[in-house]
């Protein structure tokens, strides 16, 4: 059964001012339980606006958001509750830390849920473990940490609510390649361990190609593609017109294939590419 379903959703910014623009137009799609979906789009394509509808931060001008079959905008209460079930971690979440210690900051979400102390403690420790924060850091001020550590604290703050759907907006933005890999790996690990549904928003195909089950491509407030990774990447030309690119390694492989090398063009990471080349060489070039 779909855990999250979006029906005919439209949203306009700045209604009644000279700056009125339609940010989203007639969006329809659904997310299955346990699925990992990537939402991809160029800057301004509406992807960040879209995800803020999933936990009722924005209310659609038209259409519905159904969580487990129920409209989350039914009442104030249902909207508030949806925020705990759909955990949204914004872009650059490290700028939203505010507590005096790391522990308290991670505990902010669970405390708002009204859980008891032992349960909060359990969740904080578990979330910290997921993002690789040591217990010795709990009593530090979040403002004394490095950029990468701050981000992990902020992500843990959302994970500690143990949401059924975890949404990450550009979790790897502004990090170096190793930092990106660390963050993406911990999201992957989180999903494997908890079986939660994960939605990851990005403008980089490289980041999501290896982790997502399905890709939703946004373009100018509309859904352009909603398909498997392989299928979406086969539309290279259209993606390019939307200002998007398929991963460089995939591009190289499809070029090689065109020149008659019998390689699998659906190769998205450098590691897979190395393996694929080895396989090819072992077989002796057929």
């Amino acid at each position: 059964m779909s855990i999250l379903e979006i029906k005919n959703l439209s949203y306009k910014y700045g209604v009644g001012t000279p700056f009125e623009i339609a940010a989203l137009e007639n969006i329809n799609f659904s997310v299955e339980k346990g699925e990992m979906v990537a939402i991809i789009g160029h800057t301004g394509s509406g992807k960040s606006t879209l995800i803020q509808h999933f936990n009722a931060l924005l209310k659609a001008s038209e259409g519905q958001v159904l969580l487990d079959g129920k409209d989350i905008n039914e009442s104030r209460e249902s909207a508030h509750k949806a925020r705990f079930r759909v955990g949204l971690c914004f872009q650059y979440p490290e700028y939203q830390l505010f507590e005096s210690t790391v522990y308290k900051d991670i505990a902010f979400g669970p405390t708002n849920m009204g859980l008891d102390k032992t349960e909060i403690d359990r969740r904080v420790r578990k979330a910290a473990e997921f993002v690789g924060l040591k217990e010795s850091m709990f009593e530090k001020s979040p403002f004394d940490l490095s950029g990468g550590e701050k981000r992990r604290v902020a992500i843990a703050g959302v994970m500690a609510m143990e949401p059924e759907v975890l949404i990450m907006d550009e979790p790897a933005a502004g990090l170096d390649p190793r930092g990106r890999k660390v963050i993406l790996d911990l999201i992957k690990n989180y999903r494997e361990k908890t079986g939660s549904t994960v939605i990851i928003v990005s403008h980089s195909m490289e980041d999501v190609a290896s982790v997502a089950d399905r890709i939703l491509v946004m373009n100018k407030g509309k859904i352009a593609f909603n398909d498997t990774v392989d299928e979406v990447f086969s539309h290279e030309q259209e993606l390019r017109e939307m200002g998007l690119n398929i991963p460089q390694i995939t591009k190289i492989f499809s070029e090689l294939k065109r020149y008659g090398f019998n390689l699998n063009a659906a190769t998205y990471t450098v590691d897979d590419a190395a393996e694929e080349i080895l396989r090819y060489l072992h077989k002796g070039g057929n």
Partner: protein, 271 residues
């Protein structure tokens, strides 16, 4: 919610008022504010009301936007004018109940007060609606430049103002972002009693301050890297020039001033 505040925002446009020189606009706005308080009877008040409405119409900024921007101050307008009713006991008594006395004088002062405040806000908000912050501070610093002679660092002050104005939208955007992020973690900002609401602001203001300090450092470094020095005589990329439009607006405001004084003189004062 917070994005509804439009006072101080700039709406780019090509109207007569947009094209006025910033210095001329400042002088005209200042004079019209003086005129608003010079009005002593309904005829002269009508003149400034017509002036204010006509200015908005000429600027081509929709009345809807202007009125929406004033939403926050309706309360102040109502409060001050209601208080005025009881602070004036001239004229005929309309109602005398317990210690409260309502007189025609009180009613007139209340109406005048409300109309004056509305006109005041209309005219002054039109200034920021039609002038970009940088042009505005540029105009102010030019008008105040004689103060340089008595060692007041006008240019530095103007730069401070430019930076402050420049970061208002950034801060609003940032508050919005932080608020959403904390709401996403279940923070309840819009409900509860006063103390609960004040407490709910902590998770918003701490990151806001931290980020503002960080941004201030970055901006200061960036300015120093480009050898910014407040004391040097700085030149402008866009030179300001007076045009026929400015002359027209000066004439209008002067005629209005004369008219108001005459109307006050010939038709007597109501308040």
């Amino acid at each position: 919610m917070i994005k509804d505040i439009t006072i101080g925002q700039y709406f780019p446009g090509e109207s007569f008022i947009h094209k006025l020189d910033a210095r001329a606009k400042l002088i005209v706005v200042f004079l019209s504010l003086v005129e608003i308080f010079l009005c002593k009877n309904f005829l002269s008040l009508a003149v400034v009301v017509i002036f204010a409405i006509a200015s908005v119409a000429i600027s081509k900024i929709s009345f809807k936007v202007v009125l929406k921007g004033m939403k926050m101050i309706y309360f102040i307008i109502v409060l001050t004018s209601v208080l005025q009713i009881f602070y004036n006991d001239e004229g005929t008594v309309l109602l005398d109940w317990w210690k409260l006395k309502i007189t025609t004088g009180g009613i007139f002062t209340a109406i005048f007060m409300a109309v004056r405040i509305i006109c005041l806000i209309l005219v002054s908000s039109l200034l920021t609606y039609t002038t970009s912050p940088t042009t505005l501070t540029d105009g102010i610093s030019r008008l105040l430049s004689p103060l340089n002679k008595i060692k007041i660092p006008v240019d530095t002050l103007a730069m401070m103002m430019t930076i402050a104005l420049r970061f208002i939208p950034t801060l609003i955007e940032e508050i919005d972002k932080i608020m959403n992020a904390q709401k996403a973690r279940g923070a309840d900002i819009d409900s509860g009693n006063l103390i609960q609401r004040a407490k709910a602001l902590v998770p918003i203001f701490i990151p806001l301050f931290v980020n503002s300090f960080r941004r201030a450092y970055e901006l200061a470094f960036a300015m120093e890297c480009r050898c910014y020095n407040g004391n040097k005589k700085r030149t402008r990329m866009k030179q300001m020039k007076f045009s026929w439009r400015d002359a027209v607006s000066f004439v209008v405001i002067a005629v209005m001033l004369a008219g108001i004084i005459l109307l006050n003189y010939f038709f007597g004062a109501v308040i």
